[in-house]
Symmetry: C2
Subunit: 344 residues, 2 copies
């Protein structure tokens, strides 16, 4: 089985052989070739108002401008391109409450294969609708009584479809890593040969591990920070402990896009030697960042996608005199949440 395959059936069937598979810059370069012309090369933006607000030089990578409104398209399209054609014809299956769903659905639409997405019945209506609009079959499940992975695996076993994990998949990580290559090149084009830090919103760690791989070899002296909701600080604690730790109790958070139980195995194996201190932000800080993005940056950013912006606005690391890249990971926000952010 391809080492870039999805983790769960992989581990289930073959143990931890994937650990021997070392993702490297060449995988990310290959991903960049696969997604070229389909994924958008998002810009790296400067905002004087943000520099003044933070005291630093903040370089903003707005993945909300990516196809489907989040970075997830990069990893999904790369992963689907890696499925051998005869297998791909049997379709793909994913579990997601929103952004990965749209990334997989759009990739499948482009490649002309069927996509089945297992989504919670209480997912935001707009995310359910957008996923259906992209042509995917949406199967809803009860988050409190059913196992979404079991549902997905049953479909794969029955139809021969390929399961596409949202983060713990080498192909998905390599796709997200293209963001890191772009940041390095675009920072140089803006006159920055080095970065002092990069901050990336982190759920399972697919985008963070990808960017760490794609960026840190390319640009010198850069500290890498994950940023999570304060009550979902599994990465911050895991990085401090040097081993994967789960969140003890799931509490609600406005940052729905980055709520995960624990770091992914592949993503943590990449980040544990590359990431500095893991940062956390509160819901209020995330909402303030959503409002700042709307009012001052004129960008539509969802709360989970605004966590890195929240971290710099709240001064979670030293910024004065430093050059710091942040990624705005997605913009699929319900209008009611934006309203709440602006009314704060």
């Amino acid at each position: 089985m391809c080492p870039a395959g999805n983790l769960e059936p992989w581990v289930r069937t073959t143990g931890a052989i994937w650990m021997a598979y070392k993702l490297s810059k060449s995988d990310i370069e290959a991903a960049r070739k696969r997604i070229m012309g389909q994924a958008v090369v998002t810009p790296l933006l400067r905002f004087p108002v943000l520099d003044e607000a933070t005291g630093g030089t903040i370089l903003v990578k707005p993945e909300c401008l990516q196809r489907t409104g989040s970075f997830k398209f990069r990893g999904a399209f790369n992963r689907l391109m890696m499925i051998p054609a005869e297998e791909r014809a049997s379709g793909v299956v994913a579990c997601s409450s929103g952004n990965h769903a749209q990334g997989v659905a759009e990739s499948a639409r482009i490649l002309g294969v069927s996509a089945t997405i297992v989504m919670p019945s209480d997912a935001p209506k707009i995310k359910l609708q957008r996923t259906r609009d992209l042509g995917a079959e949406v199967i809803t499940y009860d988050r409190f009584g059913e196992d979404r992975v079991a549902i997905a695996m049953e479909i794969c076993d029955r139809t021969g479809a390929t399961f596409v994990h949202p983060f713990d998949d080498a192909g998905v990580i390599a796709g997200q890593g293209t963001i890191g290559l772009e940041i390095a090149e675009q920072a140089r084009a803006l006159g920055f040969d080095s970065l002092d830090a990069a901050i990336v919103c982190t759920g399972g760690g697919g985008i963070s591990s990808g960017i760490a791989l794609g960026l840190l070899d390319e640009i010198s002296g850069c500290q890498f920070h994950t940023v999570e909701p304060a009550d979902f600080n599994d990465y911050a604690r895991s990085l401090a402990a040097g081993e994967r730790l789960a969140n003890e109790q799931a509490k609600p958070s406005i940052m729905d896009a980055i709520l995960t139980e624990s770091p992914g195995e592949i993503s943590f194996s990449i980040l544990k030697d590359r990431a500095s201190e893991g940062l956390v932000v509160s819901d209020e800080e995330a909402l303030r960042a959503v409002a700042f993005a709307f009012r001052e940056l004129k960008l539509v950013v969802e709360p989970g996608g605004a966590a890195a912006l929240a971290a710099v606005l709240a001064g979670k690391i030293k910024l004065k005199g430093r050059v710091v890249a942040i990624v705005l990971t997605g913009g699929n926000i319900d209008f009611e949440i934006l309203q709440r952010a602006l009314e704060q």
Copy 2:
């Protein structure tokens, strides 16, 4: 008096000598040097969802991401830099319903001079507040009973301040023209050596005439279209007639940023030989474009700034198989207007 001076006192005192002043690419290159490091070089964006919606290849220049949230900063900063230092110390005065106000106020703040802005008392709340936040003195007037130019001129005569016209000023036009140079260069970097058309939101014509100057010599075969509110179609009629025609009756429009009585003298003299058919869009089309920008592009765009997007979404020119650049000129929208757009 400097030929780049403001039009009204210039015409008032010296007649039409400015007509002999030919703005050229070198003026725009000089403006680019003046604003470098202060104005943002906004990107030129691709959105697959927009290409699919329109059938064309649409290159989007998002000036909503410009400092102060609109393109106006470019022209204002360039113009203020052209004022001799001893005159600049007496401050600047402008009339504006909002975006030019912020551009002038921010430029004055950076250069450490005082700014007085004459604004209608019914200007969008966000624009009044943001102008004050930038340190300008705001003087409000009644749009239906008072003459804003007379108010501004009285201040200039009394204080020695320089009047900065929102569009009919060679220095302002040269600053806006830097957008045209950037579009040409960025289109080439994206692989487009030619454009079939460019569409720019048009009030008095400062940005349109600047972009026409900066872009059309740089890139071959490009038709240039102004786009206005349907009830403020002075440019469309003037271009068809070959002479400046005023709007007969001012009706309300949601596109507050681009409501002007008639084309500017300098801007029309530039556009009359360069622009193709002038386009118009309805308020409903503009609001649909605002909603599309929010939902699909994840950009915050105000109605007047969305007119060019409205024109391509409504198919006002042939798009199939063509490469068309549009400018989103500003993003300073009141939340209530966004809500109205999304509820349409």
